[in-house]
Symmetry: C2
Subunit: 564 residues, 2 copies
């Protein structure tokens, strides 16, 4: 209902006869501007996605993220051409408050927890030590470049270089996800790069802020450095704690939604978003919070809510993150166009080079140590892909616009833009051929069989027992303890119907059974008939229950035995 | 990632040692305020809903809408008590742009089209003539009350009374839906009240604006009145046209989403919201637009998108409209508290009385004419429920706040609030007992059988034939023509896989088959086995395909025939 119209309508009316044709139609764009433009942007993003897939060959060569940035560049060019001023840059607030959370939530909710926890040590090493290594490496070497007089960069201080290093060093989860979802490398390799990109958030937050505050301080005391180190733990662990609290509350809330199935999916989104916002509010790592929240609540929420609610949660989450992702890349393209840049070739080129070199060195050194302590080592091919997959994206971009104003900010913006475009376009487009060329181990496409599942389960218990006897408290020991704590206490509090739950193998069997029945029904023609065959132990013959007939058929053993 | 923090953090850092404990934690509420508060409101609404259903008896006596308003009143009281100033009223912009569309979309998408089109004439009569009747009836009789000197209301002009009448006369779809979904009256009665509440939007928009502009004019010419009449058609039919355009575009777009199933559900929401906003922008009826859009696209979109996408659409739509609905009633309660009211007992009491009387009279008179032209008449019990079900709600409330400022606005606000609370609480709570008492025909709970469906189909074709022969072009004739146009042209353009579509009975059979298979699988124990029994025409024996065994079992006819 058009309501907040301005007085113009009434004014037109008042003029009477002459303008009465005009009065039939009137336009009030301002009233609907905000939701209208948001909807149009989302629509553009979605239509662009459909467009790419109409030509089947295009997405198999060029990653979608590149195509989207390209669309953004064109859009930005059009806006720039029409208005003759820079198109609006992506608002950092919109990015961090509205676009990033859906993607991280989706990532956390569908995180394969087994490979993640199996490699948590390696991931943390890459995320924490690796990121610090990159920050200081890039910062100090760029400072070295600044000392060359011919480059006219002597006014860029060490602190500014380190600040720039802290924002350019972090691998971006959105960019990594967009590329790695398309190339299907093996699960371990995927989780190493992707896990690193998620967990480096705490390090990036702390270092970025530390250097930013150092830039504004007259002198830096050594105590400030220690505060920075302490703050890293607060930001990271605080985020985990916030996420855990909200995740458990979410699971507990879904215990009581049996009567109103319709709002069940809502709680998954509300609690995880609240965990993110709360963490943000206290300057903790929002990404850590939402990931922990999603991973923590998943198994309990899944058990509590109805199957259809769960389908809604799953599909809506995928849809939302896909839209966010699309918007981010388009905005990235749009924001690139304009007059925000200061070109200094040496600085920009050396930034790209140092980003590549320090990442490669970091992965080599860290993997050397990781491989010494693990039986299942990371091959040199995998190391190459880890180093090469260190894509930068919208987080760097938003961070660089948040820098306090100083005279070289536009140089940093230009360098960041080039690094992002270089990594997304050059590395993103060549990584698939390289994976093919190197014959990197791929993801297995089929789900594990029941037999494999039984063996994995059995081995877990066996290894937990061995670890307990040998006194070595490794991952299997802790996993076993956690599982015990979960079934003894958590499930009783958080699950609605808690009787001794069915073993996961029984559940899997039931699921397969159901799936198969649906497939059979879908394949069947009208003349076919679904039947259930049973061998009750108290009867010597098989019973066939068919839904077209009210009474069961009894089949004598002889009819079967001949064919078995 | 907490980014837009103010400089305070850096400042704290700069102070060094003393404040370094504080620097570990810092709070920046302002940064996350908007999304945080929205999320909290939605959370409150959802938790309130869960709360009601924990006590099973409460929602069966008191409608949920009343409980929610009550929660809102308490919340408003708390805010008023703490701040000592009126709590914020529901923003009309937020209501019309964000809260109303999901509810109307849900209503349109799940509108039972058969009863709706069968009764479209009656619904339009109630919605157009009935609403005009109520507006003028209430307006003129309140003007009469204003002439009584003892009431001190002589400064309220006739135009102001008519303006008030135009906003208080319209039955509210949100309130009607909330109450009628719980009382399960028969389909015809439901669609009459609900259809009226939706379609009266165009009338309300036009009359409200007309009187509002008249209030601001020095003199009113007769031509202005004709413009008003013309405008009604523009607003109503324009809304229909906008909705139809977007609905068909939506259906067409989903033809191309096969490769990216994940964003399919999005288009349903994007296009319908765009239709609403576009209609709003041109001052047409947004409600009509979104309803037509939803009804128009439904059958094509359903055929184009995947089953899981459709589940997502359905459940998300229900969830969203449920949340909007909840928020509206809570805000209604919150906004009631405060100092926006001017109490004038006679005016307020007579408003309530006139609303009741004019609606009852209107229904009686209009139904008298309707019954003269229909075989399937509206019984007097049904008439009573139609009159009694004329609930007012948030639309009136938002409209009254949008009135231009004049000295008696607070009186109108008070009267509107009382009418809404009276209809929602008194009528809403007594309608269920009354439906029981009068033994109003209820909704049938079971779905029609295949036999019934065949008969209905057959009768439709038969009646279309009879109408064609007799030269009387009634609803069956037009329905048949529309169906022909649809299968001949529309489906070819809008559906992805267009070969002669399966008859709806075949689809129903397949659905039943699938459902049954799932039930069988879920009921089956581990020892059981799903099999598919077929009688291929080229074999003399039945074939049993069981998923536990790779090769089929062949059953000789003799094994069956004995038992059939």
């Amino acid at each position: 209902m058009p309501l907040l119209e301005n007085i113009s309508w009434a004014a037109e009316e008042a003029q009477g006869n002459e303008s009465s044709e005009h009065a039939f139609f009137s336009l009030d764009y301002q009233h609907v501007q905000v939701p209208f433009e948001i909807t149009l942007w989302i629509m553009l993003a979605s239509l662009a996605k459909i467009g790419f897939h109409l030509y089947n060959k295009l997405p198999s060569v060029v990653p979608e993220s590149c195509l989207l940035i390209f669309v953004g560049l064109i859009m930005g060019g059009i806006i720039y051409g029409l208005n003759d001023k820079s198109p609006p840059v992506m608002d950092s607030d919109i990015f961090f408050l509205y676009l990033l959370p859906p993607i991280v939530l989706d990532a956390g909710y569908f995180m394969p927890s087994r490979p993640f926890f199996e490699n948590i040590g390696t991931i943390l090493l890459y995320a924490v030590v690796g990121t610090i290594w990159n920050v200081f490496g890039i910062g100090f070497s760029l400072y070295g470049i600044c000392q060359v007089k011919a480059f006219h960069l002597q006014d860029v201080s060490l602190l500014h270089n380190l600040l720039f290093g802290s924002l350019i060093a972090a691998v971006d989860p959105v960019a990594v996800l967009a590329v790695f979802e398309e190339i299907h490398v093996n699960e371990k390799l995927h989780i190493l790069v992707f896990g690193e990109s998620l967990l480096n958030d705490a390090v990036t937050v702390v270092l970025y802020k530390l250097f930013r505050s150092f830039c504004e301080m007259p002198t830096i005391k050594s105590v400030d450095v220690f505060v920075g180190v302490g703050k890293f733990f607060v930001v990271g662990l605080g985020g985990v704690l916030v996420g855990l609290t909200f995740g458990m509350t979410a699971a507990f809330t879904t215990r009581f939604t049996k009567e109103i199935r319709v709002i069940e999916p809502l709680f998954v989104f509300l609690y995880s978003y609240l965990s993110y916002l709360t963490a943000e509010m206290f300057h903790l790592s929002g990404i850590m919070a939402i990931i922990v929240c999603a991973m923590g609540m998943k198994r309990y929420v899944e058990a509590n809510i109805s199957l259809k609610s769960h389908t809604t949660v799953k599909y809506f989450m995928k849809m939302w993150s896909s839209v966010s992702d699309t918007l981010i890349f388009i905005f990235l393209g749009v924001s690139t166009i304009g007059e925000n840049h200061e070109w200094n070739w040496p600085y920009i080129c050396f930034t790209v080079i140092f980003c590549l070199i320090w990442r490669a060195l970091g992965v080599l050194v860290l993997t050397f140590f990781v491989n010494r302590f693990h039986v299942n080592t990371i091959t040199s091919k995998d190391q190459f892909i880890i180093a090469y997959g260190g894509l930068r994206g919208a987080i760097c971009f938003s961070l660089v616009f948040l820098l306090p104003d100083f005279h070289r900010k536009k140089l940093f913006i230009a360098a960041t833009t080039v690094v992002i475009l270089f990594t997304v376009f050059v590395q993103g487009m060549t990584i698939r051929p390289l994976v093919d060329l190197l014959a990197v181990k791929r993801k297995r496409e089929s789900a594990p069989t029941v037999g494999e599942q039984i063996h994995i389960r059995f081995l877990d218990h066996l290894l937990a027992g061995i670890e307990d006897i040998s006194g070595h408290w490794g991952q299997y020991y802790w996993k076993d303890k956690l599982e015990y704590f979960n079934s003894k206490y958590l499930q009783k509090i958080l699950l609605r119907e808690y009787d001794q739950p069915k073993s996961s193998i029984v559940l899997l069997y039931e699921k397969l059974e159901r799936k198969h029945a649906i497939e059979l029904a879908e394949a069947g023609q009208l003349g076919s008939n679904i039947c259930l065959l049973e061998w009750p132990s108290h009867l010597s013959q098989a019973v066939l229950l068919c839904h077209s007939s009210p009474q069961p058929f009894y089949l004598p053993e002889s009819a079967w035995m001949a064919q078995l």
